[in-house]
Amino acid sequence: MIHANEVTKRYGDAVVVDCLSVTIPKGGITSIIGPNGAGKSTLLSMLARLLKMDGGSVTVGGLDVTATASDVIARRLAILRQDNHLSARLTVRDLVTFGRFPYSRGRPTLEDKAHVERALAYLDLGALADRYLDELSGGQRQRAFVAMVLCQDTDYVLLDEPLNNLDMKHAQSMMKTLRRATRDFGKTVVLVLHDINFASWYSDFVVAMKGGRLAAAGTVDEVIREDMLREIYGMDIHVHEVAGRRIALYYE
């Protein structure tokens, strides 16, 4: 369980996240949705102690993220932000191996190596393992980064817009992989998503933000509703039931 209590972030006079409290349940996929500038990425960064809070507190599985030693948190929670530009030239295997850093401090054991191979296989990167990241396509690189955070073997995995740069096929396979990870290993996956239909289709829990505040939090049926979406996005969005799931149409 991730619990944010009155979390606040300011940049000068602008309040980006405003005294927000939310509880993300353990297990399954939770999506954070909302319009641009709602503070989704900022919230995610604060949940993962990457960004200093101006107020409030966050606990992950009972551990206060700012008060607990960073390497302890690193074995409990992994985060991947968007636009991971690397100037260093690393192979896919190098990168994924760094996911084991919190355990072996750069001296990977046999057990660590097994974890690395499993993560590579999990994201279907076996054939690319010894290629350099700068030789890969955007989608392949994204998969390599996700393999690294999965290799970190944490109960909680936070991903900021993991579907960026991915075409439909890879976006679908990424979401399936994440869902599989929640079922196979009991992980809790928290995503910032822009496409509300991906959120609707794959999420167990949805957190909606607007203007730095919590707009709604609940199951898909509770949040993906016409009245809710109109309030969150400020536009008319029609919700249809397709194959028993809720699909939002907002193209015209």
């Binding site: 960073s70 690193a74 260093a88």
Partner: protein, 320 residues
């Protein structure tokens, strides 16, 4: 692994050549066959071995300093001469020469290192204030900062009649290396070993602040360790033999192209190739117009600038 052993072998051969090349006649055969009156052995012990060791130590440690800098700044063109570090170190050396001339050389080195660290931190702060889109702007900013610091140093040196010393620090020259006058470079060698031990931390830091925090490391602490190593190595080299330009830029970039940037793998390569590069340039400078010598800084400057241009142009076409 085999390739690395081969490189070490090349380095050892070059080191032997470096022992044999010199103005003073040194009858090796006489020494080996026992006919020598101790003359050859003395030259070897007082001049040739120290010079060769100095070349290897300075070459290896400066190349590693460049590699660390590139990881910490996260820019391929960062190195002590393109970040104000060298200029700040020589300013520090100048100040300590004027204020405390009787300080032992170790103390002077530490003072220079403190200045170097301050200069580099200023550079890091500047990078944070000025968002740069083009990676080539980073070294340009560093060179500008270095220019400003160097101008201040030149003014002070002019007033105190120390221009000669300033020139010696900024121009690498190994002709003055004798036993008892190079040992400070072992500090550089030691720090290079520390860099190898901490290699994984530096690679992680090279992935960025968020990556580092995610993996449970304190980013600021790794950055500080890296910049302290760079500052100490730079000032040790400047105090003893003077600056070797381009070295920290070329060697890590060539290594990056072949074995990548995982520092655990790259550090030994960078150290060995750095030593090879400096040994070759020094031997070249000694034989081109023997019995006179061309200072190492000049040889490296000519060879290095050509290679730097090649790297820049290559990067450009690579990025496009």
């Amino acid at each position: 692994m085999r390739a690395l052993l081969l490189a070490v072998l090349v380095m050892l051969v070059l080191a032997c050549v470096s022992l044999l090349v010199g103005v003073t006649h040194m009858p090796v055969w006489a020494m080996l066959s026992g006919y020598d009156d101790g003359h050859a052995a003395r030259i070897l012990a007082i001049s040739r071995i120290p010079r060769t060791l100095a070349l290897v130590l300075a070459g290896a440690s400066m190349a590693i300093a460049g590699l660390i800098m590139q990881m910490m700044i996260r820019n391929r063109f960062a190195e002590p001469t393109t970040s104000g570090t060298v200029e700040a170190a020589s300013l520090g050396l100048l100040v300590v020469t004027i204020m405390a001339p009787e300080l032992p050389v170790m103390g002077k080195m530490l003072a220079a290192a403190a200045f170097a660290l301050a200069g580099t931190l200023l550079f890091v702060q500047l990078l944070r204030l000025v968002p740069l889109r083009d990676p080539l702007m980073v070294p340009l900013l560093g060179i500008m900062l270095g220019g400003v610091i160097h101008a201040v140093a030149t003014f002070i040196a002019y007033r105190f009649d120390l221009l000669q010393s300033l020139l010696a620090w900024t121009m690498g020259d190994f002709s003055g290396v004798l036993r008892g006058r190079y040992e400070l470079l072992w500090v550089g060698g030691l720090l290079a070993a520390v860099a190898w031990i901490a290699a994984d931390r530096f690679t992680v830091a090279g992935l960025g602040r968020d990556f580092t925090t995610n993996l449970g490391l304190n980013y600021k602490r790794v950055l500080a360790l890296g910049l302290v190593i760079v500052s100490m190595v730079t000032s040790a080299v400047i105090v003893t033999v003077g600056m070797i330009p381009f070295l920290g830029l070329i060697v890590p970039n060539v290594v990056s192209l072949t074995v990548g940037d995982n520092m655990r793998r790259a550090v030994p390569w960078v150290a060995v190739l750095g030593a090879i590069f400096v040994l070759s340039c020094d031997i070249l400078g000694r034989i081109i117009r023997a019995p006179y010598e061309i200072p190492l800084g000049t040889v490296v400057g000519v060879v290095g600038s050509a290679m730097f241009l090649w790297l820049v142009l290559r990067k450009r076409s690579h990025a496009a």
